[in-house]
Structures are given as C-alpha cells and as structure tokens.
Amino acid sequence: MKKIVHVCLLTALLTGLGTSAFANGAKDRGAEDLVLSEPGTYPLVEEKATLSCFATLSGTMTSFEYEENSFTKVMEDLTNVHIEWKVATEADAETKFNLIIASGDYPDMFMSPKKMETNLTKIQVLGDEGVLTPLESYITEGTNMQEIYNRFPRLKNILTLPDGHIYSMPSLTGAYHAQAQAKMWIYEPWLKALGLDMPETTAEFQAVLRAFKERDPNGNGLADEIPLVASKNNSGWNSQIDTFLMSSFIYNDSSSYGHRRMLLEDGKVVVSYDKPEWREGLRYMKGLYDEGLMASESFTQTKDQLKQMVDGPSQPVVGTVPGGWQGSISQISVDDNVRWKNFVTVPPLEGPAGYRSTPYFADMGLTDRISDLLITTSCDYPELAFRWGDTLYDPDVSMRACWGVEGVNFELLDEDSGIMGVDGDPAKFRVLEQPKGNVGWNNRHPRYLYFADYHSKQADNPDRPIESVLYAETHDKYLPYVPDADSILPLMAFSPEAANEVAELETQLKSYVNEMVARFVIGDADLDADWDDYLDELNNIGLERYVELYQAAVDANM
C-alpha cells in the first residue's frame, strides 16, 4: 500500500509543478516598445526577445529546440529572438490548430498551419474574428516582403483580402513541372519494340493501346499487358483516369485544383461537365473501356495498388498510366527499382474536334502556399514577429532552411562549372547530401525560393534524373498546350456565408460528377439515354447557384 500512497503523492507533485507556458506567457509580458533594427540588418533587437510559435513536426525532424535543431540556432543567433515552440505532430496538426483557435489561447505566431495552405476564406474568417493581426503597415521598403511584392504585384493583390488587410505571409516555391500536372506516362521500350510513334491524337493513342494489348510488347507470350490503368479519385497525384484523357475534348482541371473543372471565358465562369464535349470525352473513354484497353481497377484501386501493379510483376505489364510525376506511378524510393526510368510522357492529345489542352496552374510558385506565417492578436510585438518571419525570406536563410548547410548539404556552383541545372542552363547549386532530421524546419515555414530562381537551377541527381526529365517533358510537351492564363480562375476569398455554400455545393457536384464519369464509362449509365437525367441532377444539386457564386466572387475580384 505504501507504494500506492507514494505514487499518489508523486502525481500530486507533478501536477503542482506543472506550469503552462501558454497560460502565463502572454499576460505577464509588458507592452513596452521594442527598438527594432533597420530592415535588412541584424540582430532585429539588441536585447533578447521571446515569441511563441505553433509549428508542425514532420518527416524526419524530431525537434525545434535551440539545442537540438541547427536551423533554430541559426535563426536565433541571427535575429536575437528566442522562440517558445508549441509543437504538433503533422498527422494531428489540423485538430490542434482548430483547438487552439477555439480555446482562444493563441501563441504569437502560427507557422504553416495545416489545411490552410491556399484557404484565403479561412484567413479572412480568422481576421474577422480578431484572431489575426493585419500586417500591411509593417511591410515597408527594405523588407524582403516588400521586395517580393515589388517583383510580383499580383501576389499582393491576391493576399489583400476583401476587407483591405493582409493577414498572411506566403511562401514562394513551386516547381516548373507543376504548372502542367496532368501527365500521361507511357512505357517507352514497348513503343520501340513495336515500332510505334508517340501518339499525338486520341485516335493514335487508342491505336497504341490496342497494339500494347494485342502484340505482346513484353514478349513473354502471354496476353498479360494492361494498356491503360489509373487510380481512383482522391488517391494519387493526378493519377485519375479522366484528367488527361478528357483534356482532348474540353478543359478539365486536375485534382490539385479541387476538380473544379472550371474556366473563365471572357470573364464568365463556365464549367465543363455539363457540355456536349464532356459527353464526347466520356464516349471516348467508354470506347477504351469496352475494348478492354482500360483496366477496370482504374475506378477502384488506391495509388499504392496502382504502383504495385506497375512495379510488382517481374516483367513490365503496364503500358500507360496517368500521374503528376514518376512517384505517382511507381515506388521510386526503392533503390533497385528502375522500371520508372523507362516511362516518358505522352503529350496532350488532339481530340476529334481539334481540341487540345492541359490543366494549367497559372500562379505556380505564388499561390501554392499562401499562409506559412500568421501573426495573432495576442502577440505583444507584432512588428517583431513580422520581421522575424521576414528574415526567413532572406535568400541565404531560405536556402539554409530548405537545403541545409552550405558545403555539407549543398554547394553553390559557378557559371562555368560545366554542370547543367534542371532547366538546361548552368546550375546554381548542387545537392551533396539531402538534409535530414533537425537540420531545417522541413518546409513548414515561409521561404522565398521561387521555382524559376532555385528549383529549376539545381543540378539534377544523375542517378535519379527526376527533375530534369519533368522539366523537359513539361517544357516541350505540355506548356505549349496550356490555355490562356487569363482564363484560369485565380485564388479567391469568398464571404464566409458564400464559402460554406460553395464548399457544400462543390463537394456534392464533385462527387456526383466523379461517380457519373465512372458509371458512364463502365456502361452502368447510358450516354444517350441517361444524359438528360444527368444534367437534371446537376441542376437539382445546384449547379446554377454554384456558378453564380463563383461569378460573383470573380466579379468582386476584378
């Protein structure tokens, strides 16, 4: 019994000793003014200041603490600002963020809150509720943020919300190849084995698939070839069956844009999935399915099952797979797996009516992460917090954060080093050893590494030529067919009421359209007899209202 008594005492002791940084921190601090350094000079403050920050732990990283994370040390030594970290594991970061917002117990800053990457509406709501501090008064000449705005005025327009305030600090990143993500990969050795040319039209593509099916390209005497296979909706990056194929008939944006399948025509919002061209696209896909060229698993299997289908068999059996990059179609992390290196992309196909397009991410690099730092109203030194975040945009600091230590993780290269970058020009830097563990903050922080300056200027890994292949394929085959940038809907903020309505309608429309794509293609619904019912159902769900809400938001942003 003594033991139990001891344990009880111990527990009581632990409880008594427990202090919450959250509860005490904010209240006690005086609001005396800090003297900040001139923009661009460090340290930011003479006397060490402390801010609290919510951050996300991901990947191989295990700590944000000064003693343990070498980048935290770099930042603190440079700025003279100590950070009290409130850490959430990535898997649960969203729950925790919502809990903190709901409890009214904010830290000074939120760094990369999850599911907020592109959500202007949520930022607007948090601004309205008085959670976030407006930042525009701190963005002055000399700050890195201002420099970014001078270079990309469009970004400033996007981040300035309808109430006239700017609440979030973005990241400028991206990748060249992600401007056109809806790629189709084809196993090139098969094309060569059968003496076929790269298809350019939907009819040619179908003929190639037919040849894959009938002429035994892997030469094992068995009819085990799968000419075309994809993964189901919501699994895999651009690995869905319709994204690429439908683009030969009508504009069909990919999952990265939330499957909105929407375009601006002379300032008018138009959706694709109620048009006759959409029906023709479905007819084409149904043709592939009926002929046995498209695997029926395409509508049901997950991305992992898809990759196993490509990688698993001892001889290649899969001919073509849609996917955003090589990692969407194959397990590229496995060293002795080399099959993916033989896949090349098929260019967007010309449809029977002459239409040829591909989904386009026009604001790549600008709007893919727009809320990597939010400063709250419980912060006593918002300008210091802003300047701390602004420090992360310094090119050297950004490089250090993302690519690690110069000389250890990467090396800068001269013009005349003879090493070529991803974009084919001389490379600016080369990765020596991927930064692992507590060397950085694992891309969960603001940074200014615009893809054209950095991502495209790195030397590719010769053993795994992923980036240079993606760059070249995108540049040569896809970007020539993107629609006009003005016809792409920019990132927009809705009013909270409209946002709820849009989200609800969008979910319903999206799942109905996706369901019907599958049903029309496998013949469960008839493209002639059931098409009108399909249109009626779209209107029942509220397609008209949905387009109207988007139109209103577009008009307000013009």
């Binding site: 009880c8 990947g59 944000f64 850490v87 990056w237």
Partner: protein
C-alpha cells in the same frame, strides 16, 4: 473417456471445426502478414511481393525504428504513462468503487448517478481543454493521466465485483473485532480482490498504452510525446499532401522510403508490450469480468 458420437453430432463438430478454422485464418493472416512484412526487405514489401512469409529477410525496419530518436523517447514516455497511470487509475477506481458498493453509504444513489451521468454527457473537447489548461496541466506529464484517470465503466465493474463477492457478514464480523472501514478495506477487501485488480490493471494499462488523444490535445513538447503519437505521425504524415509534392522530390522519396521501412516494424514493436502482459493477466480476466457481470 470414449464417447461415440452420432453421425449428426460428428457432422456438427466437423462443421464447427471448419468454421472455427476459417475464422482463425481470417484473424491470423493479417497478423502473420505484418510480422512477415516487418522482417522483409522494404522494397519487396512496397512491390507487393510479400504474401505470407518474409521475402529477402532483413532487420532494416527494426534497425530504423530503434535509430529513430523520437521513437525511443516515445517508448520511454509511454512506459512512464503506463506505469504511473495504471497505478493511479487502479487506486482511484478502487477507492471510488468500494464506497459505492456499500449499501450503508449515504448518498450512494446520488453519487452513482453523478458517475454514470458523465458516461453519457461530457463537456466536449474545448471546455475540457480549458479546464485542463486552467489547472496548469498543459505540457505536463500529469495531463496524460489526470484528466482521464477514472473510467466510470471500470468503477461500475469494480463496484459490482465488491457487492457480489464480499459478503456483508464479513464486514459485520470485522466490526465486532474492532476494525475500522479503512482497515477492513485494506486487510479484507483488497486481498480478496485479486481478479478485479488484475482486470482493471490490464484495462487501464492497455488504455494508457494506446492513448494518443490526450497527448494530442495537451502536449506541445515533443519530449513528452507518447509512442502512439510519434507512431501516428510517422505512419500518417507520409501520406503526402498533393500540393507538397512539387517541392523537393528527393525529400518526398525519402519520406516515402522511411514510411515503408518503418511501418510494419513499428506496428510490431508497439504491440509487443501489450501482448507480453496479456498472458499473465488473462487467467484473472475471464473470472473478473464474469463475476462483475453478474447481478447489478
């Protein structure tokens, strides 16, 4: 003893055995698969070559698990929460259950009602969080134990056990010998309650071992995270977000690789402690729960 079974009986037994074996296969296969996969070469697992037995056996997964800093810390933390938490919980549960089992306890109905009320209604996550915070428990180990220390269902099981197995005469007898309530509880009731203590202990231990939600809500300090939270993070965070894909493909590949490497070994490693205590408690288990379930 040899008994002759009728044809019908034999048919019935054979049928039972068949169904039993089917269920066994259904239950055992995933377990065997995970075990085999954990000892296989990760690339073979990723390619889907592992079906039943390990392919190209390797200990890579286990080595990676034990080299991962937060996994080891999580292991220790979970151990601490399990031991301390189980001790506190069992003690508090017994202390709560015993008075409720005494018919002469004033307000017994009322207190029982209070307890059961909380089984059905709760304040919700945010109010609970605010309460925990106002006690200064956020970011302390105590936050893993105190807020959910007593499970009402367990109190009811223990109460029922006491009221059905400890005869009232025993209390009368010890009173005649001059024993106080406390003495009676510690000297008579507890020694007779081995099974229920074992059962409560196991229930609570498993609960503490598996718990991650308290940690998710109340802990901001990675040094305090239990194993389950670390585990969740490794298993779930490699489900790569679509708009992250474009940043650094090598990094993504590395994360995918880590995920594939660790996944099965982690599942095995994190299940071992619970599997290890189970056989020792199991004999009490059936008895304890059965006894508790009789009569209200």
């Amino acid at each position: 003893m040899v008994t002759t079974l009728s044809r019908k009986d034999r048919l019935f037994t054979a049928f039972n055995a068949f169904v039993g074996i089917c269920i066994l296969v259904l239950v055992a296969y995933p377990l065997i698969f995970i075990l085999s996969a954990s000892f296989s070469n990760p690339s073979e697992v990723a390619a889907g070559h592992v079906r039943l037995w390990p392919v190209k056996p390797s200990l890579m997964g286990y080595r990676a698990v034990f080299e991962h800093q937060n996994v080891m810390k999580g292991f220790m933390n979970s151990g601490i929460y399990l031991v301390l938490g189980t001790l506190c919980s069992v003690t508090a549960t017994l202390f709560a259950a015993y008075p409720l089992s005494r018919k002469d306890f004033p307000g017994r109905k009322f207190f029982t009602f209070l307890f059961t009320f909380t089984m059905i209604f709760s304040g919700g996550i945010i109010p609970t969080y605010l309460v925990v915070r106002s006690f200064g428990l956020v970011d302390t180990r105590a936050a893993m134990i105190l807020p959910t220390m007593v499970g009402v269902w367990n109190v009811i099981v223990a109460r029922t056990y006491f009221s059905t197995t400890i005869p009232g005469d025993l209390l009368d007898a010890s009173r005649i010998d001059g024993a106080s309530d406390f003495l009676f509880f510690f000297k008579i009731v507890l020694p007779l309650s081995g099974p229920i203590v074992a059962v409560l202990g196991l229930f609570y231990a498993v609960e503490y071992w598996n718990s991650f939600f308290n940690a998710l809500l109340y802990l901001n300090e990675p040094d305090l995270f239990p194993l389950q939270l670390v585990l969740r993070n490794i298993l779930l965070s490699s489900e790569i977000q679509q708009n992250e894909l474009i940043m650094n493909v090598e990094e993504i590949a590395m994360r995918q690789g880590l995920h594939d490497l660790l996944k099965y070994a982690l599942i095995v490693v994190s299940s071992v402690p619970v599997l290890a205590i189970y056989p020792f408690v199991q004999k009490h288990f059936v008895k304890g729960v059965m006894v508790g379930s009789l009569k209200g």
